[in-house]
């Protein structure tokens, strides 16, 4: 290929700031572009606070419902544990798992509105759309966890395992929901719009959240259901977070939760990237 003088065909009176700045190879922009896309996605939550309000009202109502309405009738196999302390780690996971679905909904919307097409025509890092979306949703989930901790403390929730273990519990929950974001991304990138993505994801996640140890002790479930409930990733993650929060022995649950999270990322990360490359 011969080198040729490329002349911008849009001359302006003033020297162009864009052409005065030599733009570097896009690979070096991967981090900066991911930060920009995260900023753009988080801005949506600032512009549309109702998105955040609606998605936090539901877990707050669940806290109130289970704390005051059902809580006294729910049996725990360990009677020394207060139900509210049992409940809150479950609510943390429930709220953020549904938050992770937003990754799929947001990507489906961006595709549907033609924004992905615009991004693909820009000299930006290709990874930035998926990275920015999943990081923004993890940030939003971190905010939800802090908020739900506050709600919990108001209704009598107490941290028994110490602050470091508590922070570790939240980190575990965030890692797990970040992994679920990639599953949601894979589904969302195959959906025609946001509602379709939501409709495809909700039935997938609903049984995981409710046939789990989130609100009740699985040892009171029928045997066939226990087999599922005790081993599925949501229960494993809730148990790990709960053991850390209650200051109980963590056993294999923490390792199990991390293994589920890494496994989900290993499977759905490449799948989502492949779907993103083909979607256009």
């Amino acid at each position: 290929m011969t080198s040729t003088t490329l002349t911008p065909a849009l001359p302006t009176d003033a020297p162009s700031p864009a052409s005065a700045t030599a733009r570097r190879a896009p690979r070096r922009h991967a981090v900066a572009d991911a930060v920009t896309m995260t900023w753009r996605n988080l801005l949506t939550y600032v512009r549309l606070p109702q998105l955040l309000v609606f998605s936090t009202i539901q877990p707050i109502m669940l806290v109130l419902l289970f704390r005051y309405v059902f809580g006294n009738s729910i049996n725990l196999s360990d009677p020394s544990v207060d139900y509210v302390d049992y409940l809150m780690p479950g609510v943390f996971v429930q709220a953020t798992v549904f938050g992770a679905l937003g990754t799929g909904v947001g990507l489906a919307e961006d595709l549907n509105k033609g924004l992905v097409e615009r991004f693909r025509s820009l000299p930006m890092a290709r990874s930035a759309v998926l990275a920015g979306r999943t990081i923004a949703d993890a940030t939003r989930n971190a905010f939800v966890l802090v908020l739900m901790t506050g709600v919990g403390l108001l209704v009598g929730f107490r941290i028994h395992g110490g602050v470091p273990a508590y922070v570790a519990a939240l980190a575990l929950v965030l890692l797990f929901t970040y992994a679920l974001s990639w599953l949601a991304a894979t589904v969302g990138l195959g959906a025609s719009n946001g509602e379709a993505a939501q409709a495809a994801l909700f039935p997938l996640v609903f049984p995981l959240v409710f046939a789990s140890s989130a609100f009740v002790d699985t040892s009171f479930m029928p045997g066939w259901l226990q087999a599922f409930a005790n081993h599925q990733p949501v229960t494993v993650t809730i148990d790990a977070a709960r053991n850390l929060v209650l200051g109980q022995p963590i056993g294999w649950s923490v390792v199990g939760s991390i293994a589920w999270s890494l496994g989900l990322i290993a499977v759905f990360g490449p799948l989502a990237v492949r779907r993103y490359r083909r979607a256009a």
Binding site: L6, T12, S121, P123, M124
Partner: protein, 347 residues
Amino acid sequence: MPVVSPQPAVRAEGLTKSFGTIHALAGIDLLVPTGTVYGLLGPNGAGKTTAVRILTTILEPDAGLAEVLGLDVTRHPQAVRESIGLAGQYAAVDENLTGRENLRLVGRLTHLHRDHVIPRADELLERFGLSDAAQRPVRTYSGGMRRRLDLAAALVHRPPVLFLDEPTTGLDPASRNDLWRVIEELVAEGATLLLTTQYLEEADRLADRIAVIDRGHVIAEGTPTELKAGLGGTVIEITLEDPAVGGRAATLLEPFATATAGSAAGDGAVRLDGSSLDITVDDGARTVVEVLRTLDRAGIAPAGLAVREPSLDDVFLSLTGHRAEAEADDDAHPVAEDADRPVRGAA
């Protein structure tokens, strides 16, 4: 004055793209010299958008060559993206951000220097008459404002080659005129522009050269004057009171009609359909008087008369013998293949 590069801005040779059994592009050649405006004219589904998507690195072609400023779009996509701006019929701007934030987003993603992002955004908002709306979320914008913002977003990094995919489709006449004025300004400044359109009027007004696309093929290429000359200038539409005299009227008016390019002698220049009679003529204003006199002398009374400039439909009819088969799904999913669905079974 910019030194004219010997490299064409856009070059496509034998470009093909199929979606399953549908041949969106059946081998098209395009050559757009730097500093010119090139129009791709055709109905929905002709392959215009597919061509633009390939040239803007969004889609990979099945076969053929596609270059922007000498850079192969499949081998050097990032370098091509540095040099192009794309504005599309779907106005791909983020509804939840303000106009200013949208332009800042593009400025940051095209890696303008940090200090230049905001001034560049404000400069473009000012230029496109969006300064007052700069702080408003785009979802409050009118259709015309969105298109202007979309065009502004394509210009943020001052790309030397611009692609406008149906820039005015779906806009009201006033907004369309606004946008045409903006595009004409860009052209006056020397922009290289490839635009797709369904409107002959738009291509005629903006483009230096036009390629007419049908079913994935370029079926005619030339300057607007050349294409229209082949058509005859104007269409006179006569509605007859009595359909029975249609045949006689058509014969009487035959001498006024221009033979159209690409069709058998006079074929298609006089078209009779029930009580309506269309005649394509060279000099509309003068001929219309002659046509009326001739009809009057023959005792044929017209119930209605209209004179119009040739439309895309006329171009198609004369070039292909079939009407432009525009599909009604203007709201088609922008990322699905059907946004530019070609006519099934085209060879």
